[in-house]
Structure formats: C-alpha cells, structure tokens
C-alpha cells in the first residue's frame, strides 16, 4: 500500500519534471531576452539592420529569409510529396515499387541534416552557381534558392507521410460510388479523394512548414550567411535558425547574445503556433473520421 503511494508519486514526479522543463524553456528564453527587449523594444521587429559591431539589432532580415526559404521549399516539395502519397495510397498500395518508395522516403527523413548541408555545399551549390553564371547574375552559388532546394528535399517525407495516412482513410464506399457512376481514377482522386482529405493534407503541409522554419544545419551551410534582406532568390541571406547557429558561440557582447536569444524566442513562438494549428487540424480530422 505504502509502496504504491510512493510509486504513484514517482510517476507523477516524472510527469511534473517534464511539464516543468517545457514551461521553464519558455520562461528562460523570455528572461534572457529581456535585455534585448528593453534595449530595442518594438524596433527589434521592424529594423532591417543587424550589426553586432554597432550593437544595432533587428530581426527583419532573418524573418524574411526564413519565410522565403520555407515557403519556397514548400512550393517546390508539394507536387512531389502529393505525388508520393497518391502513388502509395492509390496507385501502388503494395508490391516491390511501393516498398522501395516507402523505404526511400524513410531514408530521406533519417539522413542527418548536416549531411544534407554538406552534400548541398559540395554538389548542389556548384550546379546553382553554374546556372547563375549562365543567367549572367553574380554567381554566389550559396543563397536563398540553394537553401530552399535542400529544404524541399528534406521536408518531403513529413508532408507525404501525413497525406498518405489521410488519403487511406477516405471511405471506400464513396470512392466505389463514384466509380460505379463511371468516373475515371483521375476524377475520383480530384473530386472525391482530394476534397475529402484536404484538411489532413493541409495539416501535413503545416508540419513540413514547421520543420522548414526551424531547420538549422543544412540551411546554415548553404545560405551564405549575409545579415541583410535578400533582394532576389539568388542572393545569400540568413534565417532565424542559421544566424543563431553562426553567431551564438562567438557572440561579441551580452546584448548581442540577448538579441540572439530573442531570435530564438521568436522562432520558438512561431513554430509553436504552426504546430498548434497543425495539431488542431489533425485532431478535427480524427473526430470527423
């Protein structure tokens, strides 16, 4: 009896520590950003200058860099991830090809991001630089475009696995009803399956978007690390995550460190919101089903 009470208290303690960790993370980030919040206030969100030497910090260049790379990566990856999920859930549900594709997307999500970055830097970057030379623009090689391309490969597994699951959940009786009316496979997909599963597909895309926003290493290695607002997709830039990775360990002053932690706090809040939205959609989908 006594032992059970202690054991139950132990279980609760574990849950409590985990809860404490999560809450403390937000509070710690907030406390450590206070010097920067006090010093720059709202200017931090509107200024496009990030200059550690002059101690002037604004997050706009990184915010725009993050949005550009993530949205570009999403746009590039959506056709592919949708195709993969339809391939696996509608066209080839079993068999050797679907096994290979299934395993390949698993592998894609298993490769460490530093390896993506390394590959991107030594294989993809020269290709982009070659294209830039042909186009007659400054051949940086590294930049927003290269980072988006790498990101798009990395996030395909996330959106495609969610989409695949929700497409599988489409009840077969309504599909069969459409077939019995003489609809082709394409029409069933377009008029029945996609409308039925669109919220789930959207949730998968949100999940992938959250990944893209916070992805650090691969982006850091190929984005070119320029602390200014990129004027075109071919220019180098920086994201919230990549500037933290680059400058944190060598932060020149306390206010620089605090500004970097404020960037971390903003990144934390943005991904929380995106994940929250995604999980709400998935939850609603589970209830509907």
């Amino acid at each position: 009896m006594n032992i059970d009470k202690i054991f139950k208290a132990g279980l609760f303690l574990a849950g409590f520590i985990t809860m404490l960790l999560i809450i403390a993370s937000f509070i710690s980030l907030l406390i450590e950003s206070i010097p920067a919040i006090k010093a720059f206030g709202i200017r931090f969100l509107t200024s496009s200058t990030w200059d550690p030497v002059l101690e002037e910090f604004g997050f706009l260049p990184f915010f725009i860099g993050t949005l550009l790379t993530s949205i570009m990566a999403l746009l590039i990856s959506i056709p592919f991830s949708l195709a993969v999920s339809l391939f696996l859930s509608e066209y080839f549900k079993s068999g050797i090809i679907s096994k290979i594709l299934n395993y390949a997307t698993d592998l894609l999500s298993g490769i460490p991001s530093v390896i993506y970055g390394f590959w991107g830097l030594f294989v993809l970057m020269p290709v982009v630089r070659y294209i830039e030379m042909k186009l007659g623009i400054i051949p940086y090689g590294v930049g927003i475009l290269t980072a988006s391309l790498i990101l798009s490969i990395m996030i395909i597994p996330f959106s495609s696995s969610v989409a695949r699951e929700v497409i599988r959940l489409v009840p077969s009786d309504i599909k069969e009803a459409a077939y019995s009316m003489g609809a082709t496979h394409f029409e069933v997909i377009r008029k029945i399956i996609l409308p039925y599963s669109k919220s789930g597909i959207f949730a998968g895309i949100m999940l992938a978007f959250g990944r893209a926003l916070g992805e650090t290493m691969a982006v850091t290695m190929v984005i070119g690390n320029a602390n200014r607002i990129p004027k075109s997709l071919f220019e180098p830039g920086n994201t919230l995550a990549s500037v933290i990775a680059n400058e944190f360990a060598e932060a020149s002053s306390d206010i620089h460190l605090s500004a970097l932690i404020e960037l971390g706090l903003l990144l934390f809040i943005v991904t929380l919101i995106i994940n929250f939205a995604g999980s709400l959609v998935i939850k609603r989908f589970e209830i509907e089903k």
Partner: protein, 280 residues
C-alpha cells in the same frame, strides 16, 4: 458527356504518368546523396581512419577517433537521462487520466517540433552558463531533451495497448500496483519501449545544432564529461566549412561513417519492431 470520353481517359492516363514520374523523381536526390557520400567517403576510410586523431590542416591522413568516442559518450549521457524520465512520464500519461496529464500530453505534442537550435540555447542558459563552460554533459542533456518526446510517446502508446485483463490477473494474485507496473506491464511492452528508444537515439545521433554551443567540439580525445567534446556531426560541419582540401576529405569519410551508423540504427528499429511487436 459522351464526346468527352476520349479526353477523360486521356486525362486519366496523363495523371497516372504524372504521379509516377513525380514520385520516381523524388528518389533521385536520395540516390545522388547516397552516391556522393559513398563514393567520396569510402576512399578515405581505412582502419587508421577509426583509430587516429586528426592532423593539422594541410597534412594528409589523420582520423576521427576523438569524434567517434565523443558521439558515443554524448549518446550514453543522453540515454541515461532520457530513459528513466521518458519511460516514467510515458507510464504516467498512460495510467493517469486527469487534466494535468491531458495538458502535459498536449504540450509534449506541440513541443515535439521545436527547432533543435532552440534546445541548444536552452541548455546553454541552464547548464553552460552556470557551469562556466562548454561540456560533454551539456551536450548530452541537449540530446536527452530531444529524445524525451519520442520516448514518452512510444512508451505511452505501448502501455495503452496492453490489455487490462493482464493487469487484473496480476492484481487477482495479490500483486500490488507497483510490482504490476514494473514486473508485468513494462516487461510486456518491452518491444515497443525499446524500439522507441532506438528511434530516439537514431534521431539524436546525427544532430548537430543542439551541440554547437553545448558540447562545442574539440580536436582532442576527451573522455571527461565536464570538458568540451567532439561529435561526428560536429566534425562534419566544422571540416566541411573549413578551407582545407584535406579536411574536406575527412568530412566525406566522417559523413559516410555517420550515415552508415544512422542507417544501421534505422534498420535495427525495423527489426526490433517486427521481432518484439507488442501484440495482444
């Protein structure tokens, strides 16, 4: 409608071809990455590569022993911290149904996608600053925090699958709650919990971002958990970003080792999942 039949059938075929070609195109980057890593990596690797320490830039040869040892130490520290906390929290979520546990489950779900670089900042605030410097311990804690959600969720899912009849049978023999959980419930879910742990390890073994300002990296062989330590992914990052040709070659070799290591863990997960599947 009738006149359109040809067009509809054509569209149907066109769409199928489109889906198949886009899907197959998705595999190409994977093969390219594997091809380049294997091709450039394998030529660097010999026995010396695993037992030597790095040489100064420009000099040929040298190995990655220090970062292999470092990764091993970091993963062990993370494992020691994350396993008890993760398993107990998972059991707690599966066993206790109240508002607190519901909120906790919700928070864990949301926290799962937090960028790993943010965890690096947190551990810097919590451990590196108070302890006065970068250390293997700080790196291990960062990895442990990354492991936690995976371990908790897999434990919870596994425990939930274990039928109540099993617990009731145990109670009816006069066994108390503590022993029922420790000796009946957790052992029956061993497969699910173990494969969750391997998944978590395979996730964090390749992580770089949370180590950048916790473990920090080092070019010396270090086994002291309170000193900075190197890790395979950190080495790949630092060497890849350097300007030395000889270091780039080492980075290819290290990438190959890291990739093989992570892929073996992935295969282990599949085997463990199939062999110890929790089924009732």
């Amino acid at each position: 409608m009738k006149n359109n039949i040809g067009k509809r059938i054509f569209l149907n075929h066109l769409f199928k071809v489109l889906i198949i070609s886009l899907s197959l195109f998705t595999i190409i980057p994977l093969f390219l990455i594997l091809y380049h890593i294997v091709k450039n990596g394998i030529s660097v690797i010999d026995f010396e590569f695993f037992i030597r320490l790095p040489k100064p830039p420009g000099e040929e040869g040298g190995g990655i022993l220090h970062s292999l040892v470092g990764t091993l130490i970091l993963v062990i520290i993370a494992f020691i911290i994350a396993t008890p906390l993760g398993i107990f929290t998972g059991v707690f979520l599966a066993e206790v149904k109240d508002r607190f546990s519901n909120n906790l489950r919700f928070l864990i779900n949301i926290i799962q996608g937090i960028p790993s670089i943010v965890i690096g900042i947190l551990v810097y605030i919590w451990i590196v600053i108070p302890m006065g410097g970068f250390s293997a311990f700080a790196g291990g804690v960062a990895l442990a925090i990354m492991m936690l959600p995976v371990v908790i969720k897999s434990t919870e899912e596994t425990i939930k699958m274990i039928p109540d009849t099993l617990k009731e049978a145990s109670y009816s023999l006069g066994v108390n709650y503590t022993r029922t959980i420790l000796k009946v419930v957790i052992p029956s879910g061993f497969g699910g919990i173990a494969s969750g742990l391997i998944v978590a390890i395979s996730r964090v073994a390749g992580e770089t971002a949370p180590l950048l300002f916790t473990a920090f990296g080092s070019s010396f062989l270090n086994v002291n958990p309170f000193k900075p330590i190197d890790a395979l992914p950190l080495l790949v990052f630092n060497y890849a970003m350097s300007l030395y040709e000889s270091w780039h070659r080492i980075a290819w070799g290290a990438s190959f080792v890291l990739l093989v290591f992570v892929l073996i863990l992935n295969v282990l997960v599949k085997i463990a999942g199939a062999k110890w599947r929790t089924r009732f």
